[in-house]
């Protein structure tokens, strides 16, 4: 039994495995399958100030070892989250991360103010959602816009602040550095990669929004590179994700510089993938005679 415990932004993670935003709801459904309190943390579905119905049309499309989604941030809104869903998440004895999206800077600021007084452990500022028409990802493309956004949020945010980067950013190292300079406590990446599928018989894009976000094993090598670049560019800790499906994948991200990792699409492939990953992490460390996972963090 190696030590999998990690301190991340002043919070104790019993292991570095966190369920990724948008793939785990608020934990409720997966807790019917296994005790989600065994996870290091859970990142909530992306929240917006006002509730959202999300996108019309097809929302999911499988690709070779990948998944495209165009959910469009369907969520109950920050206020409902604070009065209802957070209580569900809080009962699980794991870190609760509130993933916050927005269309305007004001949306982010009001959302953060509301979350300041809640019981969330960490705010994950989502400046990278590709599936909403305006805003969302726009904040995550240009480093100067991201800087201004994160700086304004930082000034009022009283929770540990993790900024979730988009792989669609113009330059990942510049984006990472800009967010650090603006006062982010940590970075998480990657969100989904902007992508497209076409129905050749209908002669139109599969998705009403034309483009959708690609995740799953297909994106892993790209995500790994970006996590490595970010970790090299900043001193703050990094939470890595993108296609992680096994303990081996998780170890790669940790060696590339991630202190903790998130698992998204793999939850769909096998409902208790996160538990498998925790077990495989432990087995790998034992087999290599490593006593503490931190010994291999960022060694590449």
């Amino acid at each position: 039994m190696a030590n999998l415990k990690v301190d991340f932004l002043g919070k104790v993670f019993k292991n570095p495995v966190v369920a990724a935003s948008g793939t785990f709801g608020f934990g409720e459904e997966y807790n019917d399958i296994y005790d989600v309190g065994l996870l290091g943390g859970i990142s909530s579905k992306g929240l917006t100030l006002k509730s959202k119905q999300g996108n019309e049309g097809i929302r999911l499309w499988e690709t070779p070892m990948g998944l495209m989604n165009s959910i469009g941030l369907q969520n109950p809104g920050v206020e409902s989250f604070i009065s209802r869903e957070i209580n569900i998440m809080k009962q699980y004895k794991t870190n609760v991360i509130a993933n916050l999206g927005g269309n305007t800077l004001d949306d982010y600021l009001i959302g953060v103010k509301l979350l300041n007084d809640s019981e969330v452990d960490i705010i994950e500022l989502n400046i990278s959602c590709p599936n909403v028409k305006e805003g969302g990802m726009a904040f995550g493309i240009k480093a100067d816009i991201a800087y201004n956004t994160v700086k304004a949020v930082r000034e009022i945010c009283r929770k540990p602040l993790m900024v979730k980067l988009s792989p669609n950013a113009e330059s990942i190292p510049e984006m990472a550095a800009a967010c650090e300079e603006a006062g982010a406590d940590a970075l998480s990446l990657i969100n989904t990669i902007n992508a497209m599928a076409i129905d050749i018989y209908a002669r139109k894009s599969v998705f009403n929004n034309y483009y959708a976000g690609l995740s799953g094993p297909a994106v892993k090598p790209i995500a790994l590179r970006m996590v490595h670049q970010s970790a090299k560019a900043v001193k703050i800790p990094v939470c890595g994700m993108g296609g992680i499906s096994s303990g081996v994948d998780a170890i790669e991200f940790i060696m590339a510089g991630a202190s903790i990792i998130q698992v998204g699409t793999a939850n769909f492939v096998k409902a208790d993938s996160c538990l498998d990953i925790i077990k495989e992490l432990d087995e790998f460390l034992d087999s290599q005679g490593i006593r503490d996972i931190k010994e291999i963090t960022g060694i590449i």
Binding site: T23, G25, E29, I33, Q53, G54, N267, A271
Partner: protein, 243 residues
């Protein structure tokens, strides 16, 4: 109760055309209308596929599916004794207690899959069964023997009546109509029922990823906002649906 398990395949047989039946052991008794997320360990696809309970008896879970793409094709290639990933039973299923009076069951194509197990559960209520197919019919024998009436319709008239199943039912004759099948068929049935004030339940289908209600990938618009087919459904009351 829901279970996430690795099960051994007891049978995985070709029924006809592109229709297959997968049989695994399970100690959980599902409700009619529920489904399982199934993924073989073979092949290079990612997501489990939702497959309806066709029957359950003596610990044997029978899942009827149509090969409609790469994932189901890979599942159809799995052999007896292979391990297969089984998550379920999922979804709400039919509320048998609500099904009283004169009942019609209307199925089309692979949509007949959940209706056999439903039929077994309400046999004593002697529902009439209407089944529509394109050309080849399958799994008809299961719908006996206690039925009131079995009306089979094929588009080419090869078996039973010729035409569309929707042309052979007069929903006014029933207190409750239950339907599962192609979207156009269900829409027609639901509309007719709503017009005539006949209670109607439809089992819906949608592309899924998680199958448990977490990803919001399978929602349909209802009069009460978006509902998840996998968790709030797949069975919906027609009055909630926007058709």
């Amino acid at each position: 109760m829901m279970k996430n398990d690795m099960s051994k395949i007891i049978e995985n047989k070709h029924i006809c055309d592109n229709i297959f039946e997968l049989v695994v052991l399970s100690d959980i008794v599902p409700l009619p209308g529920q489904f399982y997320m199934i993924k073989g360990l073979n092949g290079d696809y990612l997501l489990p596929r939702p497959i309806s309970v066709h029957n359950y008896q003596d610990g044997k879970l029978r899942l009827l599916y149509r090969v409609s793409g790469h994932g189901t094709d890979q599942i159809s290639r799995m052999k007896v004794n292979d391990n297969i990933q089984v998550l379920g039973p999922l979804g709400n299923g039919f509320d048998i207690a609500l099904l009283n009076g004169k009942i019609a069951i209307v199925g089309g194509g692979i949509g007949i899959a959940p209706l056999l197990y439903l039929m077994k559960n309400i046999e004593s209520k002697k529902p009439d069964v209407y089944l529509g197919f394109k050309d080849e019919t399958f799994c008809l024998e299961g719908f006996g023997p206690n039925r009131n009436e079995l009306i089979v319709v094929t588009e080419d008239g090869n078996t039973g009546h010729k035409g569309y199943v929707t042309d052979f039912i007069n929903v006014k004759d029933y207190d409750i109509v239950i339907t599962c099948g192609p979207e156009i068929m269900m829409e027609k049935i639901i509309r007719a029922c709503l017009e005539k004030n006949v209670e109607v339940y439809a089992s819906m289908e949608k592309r899924m990823a998680c199958g448990v209600g977490a990803c919001l990938g399978c929602v349909i618009n209802t009069k009460n906002g978006n509902k998840r087919v996998c968790k709030d459904g797949p069975v919906f009351n027609g009055t909630d649906l926007t058709v």
